[in-house]
């Protein structure tokens, strides 16, 4: 190698040039050879002459450059004024309106099915005035959005109720059970009718009564149905609930909350003492057994439910768990309104325990 390298350095320019030329010639020959191979392959595979066109077909596709025409020689507004004959109804329709017409004519496509459904639902409504079936569209829409929302709200309100009264014993469980049962028994027959309320026309008196003890029951003006939310549903007032119950069950009807105080009588204790004992059992810390506390609780109770006490003594209906929660909830709500009084008794409870 060294000898060759040294000889390289001894080269003069002409020789260098000659070598350069040679190298160049080699490169060009390589390119030519490569090209020949390509051509030969194209010939043998048969695609060599593919890009050739005869002059006749060249003329057919010549670019058009006249005013009013596109490069293919077509007129711009040609299809607007044309009329097509519909294969279904054999009418002649304008070309631009043809596609939507076909959609409706053949009954395919999104809009036509929607319109058909609505028509069916409307005709159903007209035919069966007493049926529970409402407009399918509305039902479906309500089911999905309003129903789930309602459910979520309901659960939340339930949670708020139970929080201050955490007790593994019956009141909560039975209330929830009862609620479940209530829901199951009441809502099952009406499950398919609607999700937002119950139509009172088809309910029997017993069912009505049980319904009214567990649910709000206020009749909505829009849908003429009873509200299925809880007894403390924020959408309706107690007045409304009382009105509904009176309307259905007669003048002796009372709100279920009121009936809670019944159990005080059934246990043969005074109202306040029963409440206190029950509350202690429930584990409420805000109400003390002491006189001050009891007087306040009785005050609270009186304030909320006092007017109904006399009525409740006359009618004996309800079950303990419901009443308990009713009481608790009543007190809970009262507590919200009067935050101050319950506060001072708190330390005294702990004193008693200790």
């Amino acid at each position: 190698m060294k000898m060759e390298e040294m000889s390289l350095s001894g080269l003069d320019n002409s020789k260098l040039e000659a070598i350069a030329q040679e190298i160049y010639a080699d490169l060009v020959e390589d390119s030519c050879l490569g090209f020949c191979f390509e051509v030969h392959r194209a010939v043998k595979c048969g695609y060599f002459f593919l890009d050739d066109t005869d002059p006749d077909s060249m003329k057919d596709f010549e670019i058009v450059d006249q005013p009013g025409l596109d490069i293919f020689g077509q007129v711009f507004n040609q299809w607007k004024s044309k009329e097509c004959v519909c294969p279904n109804c054999s009418r002649s329709i304008a070309a631009s309106r043809f596609a939507p017409h076909l959609e409706k004519c053949l009954g395919m496509g999104r809009n036509s099915s929607r319109i058909a459904n609505r028509r069916i639902a409307n005709s159903n409504n007209m035919n069966k005035s007493e049926s529970d079936q409402e407009d399918n569209d509305d039902i479906n829409d309500n089911d999905w959005s309003y129903g789930s929302e309602k459910k979520a709200k309901k659960r939340k309100s339930d949670k708020l109720w139970y929080l201050p009264f955490q007790n593994p014993n019956s009141p909560r469980r039975s209330k929830s059970l009862k609620h479940k049962n209530g829901e199951l028994s009441n809502s099952d027959p009406f499950k398919y009718s609607n999700s937002t309320g119950i139509s009172y026309e088809t309910l029997g008196p017993e069912e009505l009564r049980s319904l009214l003890t567990t649910q709000c029951g206020v009749i909505s003006e829009h849908t003429k149905k009873m509200c299925t939310r809880s007894l403390r549903c924020p959408q309706h007032t107690d007045e409304q609930r009382r009105t509904v119950r009176i309307y259905f069950l007669g003048s002796s009807a009372v709100l279920p909350e009121v009936e809670s105080s019944l159990d005080n009588d059934s246990f043969d204790m005074t109202d306040s003492q029963a409440l206190i004992s029950r509350l202690q059992w429930d584990g409420s810390s805000d109400l003390s057994p002491s006189d001050s506390g009891s007087s306040k609780t009785s005050e609270n109770q009186g304030w909320g439910l006092g007017t109904n006490n006399s009525e409740s003594r006359k009618t004996k209906k309800k079950k303990s768990h419901l009443s308990l929660v009713g009481t608790a909830s009543g007190l809970g709500s009262n507590k919200k309104k009067k935050p101050k009084p319950p506060a001072p008794p708190t330390p005294s409870i702990y004193d008693d325990i200790n």
Binding site: V28, C32, F35, C36
Partner: protein, 98 residues
């Protein structure tokens, strides 16, 4: 002469080893395409093929016909540029080998 031949062989080897040969080739190819050298040669090819007949054409025939034409058709600009690069390479090689 032997020395020359040896020298040329050595240079060629260097060219290949450094990858410069491929480099030059890749440089030449697009240049030839864009200066329509290929299209001209293609036209010539078609004539040759029509002359000889599509079925019986062979690579040797093509090569024999095409190569001289191809060499002649290379435009001067391309030729000059390529030669320049080769010279540069050789000079560099000569200096480096020292």
């Amino acid at each position: 002469m032997n020395k020359d031949a040896q020298m040329r062989a050595a240079i060629n080897q260097k060219l290949i080893e450094t990858g410069k040969r491929e480099c030059f080739k890749e440089l030449l190819r697009p240049k030839l395409t864009e200066c329509v050298w290929k299209d001209q040669l293609k036209v010539h090819c078609k004539e040759v093929i029509k002359e000889k007949g599509l079925e019986h054409i062979t690579v040797d025939d093509l090569v024999a016909e095409i190569t001289p034409k191809g060499r002649a058709l290379v435009p001067d600009s391309v030729k000059k540029e390529l030669l320049q690069r080769i010279r540069t390479f050789l000079t560099r090689a000569r200096w480096l080998s020292l």
